[in-house]
């Protein structure tokens, strides 16, 4: 769904490609393009404004000191800011509560609450092995209760009957009692669509929230929403304690601006996305993947150029020589390599530029995130010179000392050593090819546990 934004952004970035420096002037034009791109993608104006401001500041500030080309800097900054706005981690339903975990669905009319209730029930039942009950507190829309009953039957979860003559709070409370009695793990409460400005209706859902005290209150929003996404998200998050967002109808060709707006305004993670009308069409939302896809397929060329510029030439040569001559690759070398990586703007920003990287399993990606690079560096710097040169010395008590010294755990130390060992093997494999080539190779596949 983000395709068009991608095209736009890369076009706007093309414009400043050939230029030598980032200045107030040339960045202005490029940022104007970025602004139009975001607006055409239906990102809400206030969000666009603050986004552009952040990008401008960062692009003109520290980044310009590096010797990167302006276009590269801007790509990098825009992308990092996108990631920042969308959030970095995938978050699911919070089960840290006394069962039944209550999930309250809220949103505008026709956003997809009832459908998402069915999908989520199926998801939790099948993937998380939960015993799920659903109930409709929509006593207004014609046949809303029947609609939920039908989807509940389709996905095979318990439907708690409700009636249009009851009031939503009573329905919620009664269902909660029943869910407790029946030892259900989850109770999902569907509600009527409502306008954020409808005072009476907002009051109603507030008292429903107060009485059933849900662990999750999910704001359901249509991905095709325009500027109003910001208003509505603000009003719902002011009125209710939201814990997350579900973005629906992502199977259309909307450019996804609503995702940026809602995330930015509510500060709450987008937890799931609806990708179709069928009950299986619900997926966990991966903000990191989406952010990098906004900028299109990885720009390998610029990555390589960046690496060439940033990597300390002497260090790299020293390393290459070492590998070539089969000299031992020590933890000291590993350390200097990690430091260089950090210099280049962190692992994840580099990784995201490589094609195919966004499809990596999360497990692999997790090993590569910048936090773990930092942790690895901390571990190494707590070692003595001797330990760095002869890592095989590091056993039980040394591990404990290093862990304590670096504020990490023994597991972290072991993990680092494991990664170092794999790295060493890999260095042998790539012997003579040098670091550049290795980086390129890594674009295709990532050996397990490697920090590349």
């Amino acid at each position: 769904m983000f395709d068009n934004l991608t095209d736009r952004l890369s076009k706007s970035i093309q414009k400043i490609r050939g230029q030598a420096n980032l200045s107030e002037d040339n960045i202005k034009e490029a940022l104007r393009e970025v602004r139009v791109a975001l607006l055409e993608a239906d990102v809400a104006l206030p969000v666009v404004k603050s986004f552009i401001e952040d990008v401008r500041e960062r692009a003109l500030g520290t980044e310009v000191l590096t010797s990167l080309k302006p276009a590269q800097v801007l790509v990098k900054v825009v992308q990092e800011e996108l990631v920042k706005v969308l959030g970095e981690e995938t978050s699911g339903i919070n089960f840290n509560a006394q069962p039944p975990v209550v999930i309250l669905m809220a949103g505008l009319q026709g956003a997809g609450k009832t459908t998402t209730t069915g999908k989520l029930a199926k998801f939790l039942k099948e993937r998380e092995n939960k015993k799920v009950m659903v109930v409709s507190a929509d006593v207004y829309r014609p046949a809303a209760i029947e609609q939920l009953q039908t989807v509940a039957e389709q996905v095979g979860v318990e439907w708690f009957p409700s009636s249009v003559i009851d009031d939503p709070v009573t329905i919620g409370m009664t269902a909660l009692q029943a869910a407790k009695k029946g030892y259900f793990d989850v109770l999902i409460v569907d509600t009527a669509g409502r306008l954020a400005v409808d005072e009476a209706m907002m009051k109603e859902i507030k008292s429903l929230q107060n009485s059933i005290n849900p662990t999750e209150t999910l704001f359901v929003v249509d991905a095709m929403t325009g500027q109003d996404a910001a208003n509505t998200a603000k009003a719902f998050s002011d009125a209710l304690d939201l814990t997350g967002v579900v973005l629906t109808k992502v199977d259309g060709d909307a450019r996804g601006g609503a995702a940026l707006s809602v995330k930015n305004i509510t500060g709450k993670p987008i937890k799931f996305q609806g990708v179709g009308e069928k009950m299986e069409a619900l997926e966990p939302f991966h903000p990191d993947r989406i952010a990098s896809s906004i900028l299109g397929m990885g720009d390998v060329l610029s990555l390589v150029e960046e690496v060439e510029r940033k990597v300390d030439k002497k260090e790299a040569e020293k390393l290459a020589k070492k590998v070539a001559t089969g000299n031992k690759f020590t933890l000291e070398d590993f350390q200097s390599q990690l430091l260089q990586m950090q210099n280049m703007g962190g692992m994840s920003s580099m990784l995201d530029k490589l094609p195919g990287m966004s499809n990596l399993p999360d497990m692999v990606k997790d090993q590569v995130n910048d936090k773990s690079t930092g942790r690895m560096l901390a571990v190494i710097s707590s070692m003595t010179l001797k330990e760095k040169r002869y890592p095989q010395l590091i056993k039980g008590s040394r591990k404990r000392r290093i862990a304590n010294g670096s504020g990490t755990t023994i597991q972290d130390v072991s993990k680092l050593l494991k990664q170092y060992n794999q790295m060493q093997k890999m260095m042998r494999k790539f012997k003579g090819k040098g670091m550049m080539k290795m980086m390129q190779k890594l674009g295709g596949k990532l050996p397990g546990g490697m920090p590349f």
């Binding site: 206030p46 207004y140 939920l148 400005v197 409808d198 209706m201 109003d228």
Partner: protein, 391 residues
């Protein structure tokens, strides 16, 4: 206050409530304009709760506090100041319904215009903001602003009132192109209206509204439950039929949509119906197979009456952004569209994507939806629509 626009609470009669509230009508003041203008753009300007708190009477704008009347059911009370300015009740009513909450931009602009007598870049930026926030879209907004600049230059005008007038003229020109009411051709028996659109935009509800409207005009109306896919879609339309006392032709969920509508046409003919309105399942315009299904519906309908459907209405959610353009484009490819309905304009969105639609497709906009009840339908009026955006 707000429950005037949306009356989900069935137990209260809105009429009664309107009367009491109308008495508390307030007068405008500059103090309020200041307060509203200083609100950040991302906030819904009109916090409905505000009205229930103690607020000095002279600090409240009538626009925010006077309830909008319900169409045809209640008398519309226009604040005296506005009446003096020649504001018609129906104009007032619409701008109430369209703008009741987030009209801080309009207000901001007015205030700004009254402060600045000289045109400067800030002024144009404010105009731009107003249009962008109303979903007019970046490209169209820049075009409109450019035209405004040119027209001012041509006429050598330089005060802010002229800017406002020029902007209004530009927008009205665009909006007027598509102001063509739907006329039911009585020679068609029945006159078949096919209602299409993406998921959840308000097709079924709009059908109930249209049915009520034509019935109240003395026509014999029948509905066809052509959404045979979504859970309880048939029941939803049937419930509306019962409420409005209008016959609904339906088969089971899972039945072939085209044949449901075909059969309904046959039945409508047999029962001398004037109007047959057919519901269809919501579908995203990106789903090629579903769009083909829609083409098939038209073909099958034509086997029954080769001039049908006599009106193909696309329903657009007023909160939709620039995506509405590709919706109209794709649906128009599958089934030539003859009319547009924009719904949910009782909420905070302004529906500014209409200008893009008007410019690109020129398909007549027939109605707007302003609530969830069957009475919440209005004929589209360009002038009112523009006023709701920039006033």
């Amino acid at each position: 206050m707000i429950n005037f626009f949306k009356k989900k609470n069935k137990n209260k009669t809105d009429k009664d409530k309107l009367k009491t509230d109308a008495v508390t009508e307030q007068v405008t003041s500059d103090a309020d304009a200041d307060a509203a203008a200083s609100k950040p753009a991302s906030q819904p300007a009109h916090d409905a709760g505000v009205m229930n708190q103690e607020i000095p009477i002279d600090a409240v704008d009538p626009k925010q506090t006077t309830p909008a009347a319900e169409p045809a059911e209640v008398e519309i009370v226009v604040p005296p100041e506005l009446l003096a300015q020649g504001v018609e009740p129906h104009q007032y009513q619409l701008s109430q319904q369209l703008s009741k909450t987030n009209d801080n931009f309009g207000k901001k602009m007015k205030q700004m215009l009254s402060l600045k007598k000289q045109i400067d870049e800030d002024l144009f930026e404010e105009l731009e903001t107003t249009l962008l926030m109303a979903d007019v879209g970046a490209t169209a907004t820049m075009e409109v602003i450019e035209k405004v600049r040119k027209s001012l230059k041509r006429r050598n005008l330089s005060d802010s009132d002229a800017v406002f007038d020029a902007l209004k003229a530009q927008l009205t020109e665009l909006a007027q192109v598509v102001e063509q009411p739907l006329i039911i051709d009585e020679s068609k028996q029945p006159f078949v209206i096919l209602v299409v659109g993406v998921n959840g935009v308000g097709k079924t509800t709009t059908i109930a509204k249209l049915a009520r409207k034509y019935k109240s005009m003395g026509k014999k109306v029948m509905l066809a439950a052509g959404d045979t896919f979504r859970a309880a879609a048939v029941e939803q339309l049937k419930t509306w039929g019962e409420r409005e006392d209008i016959p609904v032709m339906a088969q089971k969920t899972g039945a072939d949509s085209a044949s449901v509508i075909f059969d309904a046409m046959t039945s409508a003919k047999a029962h001398n119906m004037d109007v047959l309105i057919a519901d269809t399942a919501g579908r995203l315009h990106t789903q090629a197979n579903l769009m083909q299904e829609l083409e098939k519906i038209s073909r099958v309908i034509q086997k029954n009456d080769d001039t049908a459907p006599h009106e193909t209405l696309i329903v657009i959610d007023g909160g939709t952004g620039q995506n509405a353009i590709s919706q109209v484009r794709e649906f128009n490819k599958a089934n030539a569209l003859s009319g547009v309905v924009i719904t949910k304009l009782d909420g905070t969105p302004k529906g500014g994507v209409l200008f893009n639609l008007a410019a690109e497709f020129g398909i007549p906009v027939r109605f707007i939806g302003v609530g969830e009840k069957s009475t919440d339908l209005k004929s589209y009026k360009a002038a009112e629509f523009v006023d709701a955006i920039i006033d």
